[in-house]
């Protein structure tokens, strides 16, 4: 059976090669759908739950009392309300920035130790990635509704929007260079125009996500970091106003969509 399949696949590789890019796109779509039916993201959610409950840091405390916006320890629907303004920190925070805040304030961990390894790889995911998967999963089925009422939330939105258009760096790129016009691609990768609600909604509803091509779990802070790397810019600090403002801007643009992540990416 497997052999027969392999045979057909080989025959196709040999004879279907001149097939149009359109067919390739369809195949990629089919593959994505297949992967979506049983997502490896679940493994990260399980690991994240264990980390959430694990006593860590100088205070040997878990994150179970972490306030993600709906009160200490409330996980259900918390991700759908982020980013938002937090009075105790006097600033707008996205999920990862807030998790870092809880590691420092509840567990007593230093910033340096807690941010030592924010982005993992296939062999070893990071703590932040697993925690993000666990927390985000508790908002499945809920409408994305980031904070919009506080003046600092409004300021973050405006900063994020301005950053989206800011051209700089060795290659003169802004976010709009790739994500500014509908229907464009880099190689075969389609690019969402995150200024438009109809494009931003599906992005906001599926991140963070399992990334098939690298067998790892990716977060929004990673996405901002990696975009700036490809834009030939220096590195934005994790949880900085810049990355939070961009995530807030994108989330507000895509608000109202029902969260169905953590999803799968190519």
């Amino acid at each position: 059976m497997n052999r027969a399949c392999a045979g057909i696949l080989l025959a196709c590789l040999a004879f279907c090669a001149p097939a149009a890019a359109q067919d390739l796109k369809k195949e990629i779509e089919r593959y994505r759908q297949m992967v979506n039916e049983g997502s490896p993201a679940e493994l990260f959610e399980l690991e994240g739950e264990a980390l959430w409950k694990k006593p860590q840091g100088p205070r040997q405390t878990s994150l179970e009392k972490c306030d993600l916006g709906l009160g200490p320890g409330v996980l259900k629907g918390a991700y759908a309300g982020l980013p938002r303004y937090f009075k105790d920190a006097e600033r707008v925070m996205d999920l990862e920035t807030r998790l870092l805040h809880c590691m420092m304030t509840l567990q007593g961990r230093g910033r340096e130790e807690a941010t030592q390894r924010l982005f993992g790889n296939a062999d070893r995911p990071s703590e932040m990635e697993s925690l993000s998967a666990y927390v985000a999963a508790q908002s499945r089925g809920m409408k994305m509704a980031p904070g919009e009422g506080h003046p600092k939330e409004k300021a973050a939105y405006e900063l994020g929007r301005a950053l989206y258009f800011q051209r700089a760096g060795a290659w003169d790129f802004a976010c709009t260079s790739c994500h500014g016009e509908e229907g464009k691609r880099i190689r075969l990768q389609e690019l969402p125009v995150l200024l438009k609600p109809e494009s931003a909604r599906s992005v906001v509803a599926t991140w963070p996500a399992y990334r098939v091509s690298t067998s790892g779990f990716v977060t929004m802070q990673w996405r901002m970091n990696n975009c700036y790397q490809q834009m030939r810019m220096p590195e934005p600090a994790f949880g900085s106003d810049t990355t939070v403002a961009l995530i807030h801007f994108i989330t507000v643009t895509g608000k109202g969509e029902t969260y169905r992540g953590p999803g799968n990416k190519r």
């Binding site: 890019a21 301005a162 800011q166 003169d172 229907g183 075969l188 220096p234 900085s240």
Partner: protein, 196 residues
């Protein structure tokens, strides 16, 4: 009376004010860190980047013309034929590395051409941010005029269209003179797959 005072002090509510490119630059200077070859100087906008940000890539025609002329002065055209080796050009066009904080400085960069353009019809993984360049030389020939145009456009695309999304690949130090010549070969040489 009190209200007038308040209005004088805060002409715009800070929450509603839209940050200018200069404001954004200041935020970025605070929030970014130099990493590898990507230094903090890259956060600081030059005149072209500033005008294009301010005008959302639609600069007034007069200003665009003036700044394009300034950019044209940065192009150093080599003597003689500009038609390099298309085989080397194809490798440069395929290579998407270079100038990132993850790329070692000192190693040759690629041109990332296929990221945005169709070139050789054999390559099906091409981007669409820029126009298709398939058959470019077949349609235009490979004379000195068109060689000069292609070389200049790759060296500093902003000299031809101020707010184009195409990087200034020579001006920014991404590609060498020889690499750009090889890309001219890829686009114009009748033997290049681009023109088959």
């Amino acid at each position: 009376m009190k209200l007038v005072w308040l209005l004088a002090l805060f002409p715009l509510s800070p929450a509603l004010a839209q940050p200018t490119p200069k404001d954004v630059e200041k935020v970025m200077q605070r929030d970014f860190r130099a990493h590898g070859q990507a230094g903090m100087d890259r956060v600081v906008q030059d005149g072209v980047q500033r005008v294009c940000t301010e005008t959302r890539d639609h600069p007034p025609a007069e200003l665009a013309k003036r700044l394009e002329a300034d950019q044209a002065k940065t192009i150093a055209f080599p003597q003689g034929s500009l038609l390099g080796d298309w085989k080397s050009g194809e490798r440069i066009a395929q290579n998407g590395r270079g100038m990132q904080w993850t790329d070692a400085s000192g190693t040759a960069s690629g041109g990332s051409c296929y990221n945005c353009h169709q070139l050789s019809p054999k390559e099906i993984s091409f981007g669409t941010i820029g126009p298709s360049l398939a058959g470019f030389g077949a349609q235009r020939g490979s004379g000195p005029e068109v060689q000069r145009y292609v070389y200049g456009k790759i060296y500093n695309a902003k000299a031809y269209n101020l707010c184009t999304q195409m990087p200034r690949l020579g001006y920014s130090g991404t590609l060498t003179e020889q690499q750009i010549k090889d890309l001219v070969g890829l686009l114009l040489d009748p033997a290049s797959p681009v023109n088959q």
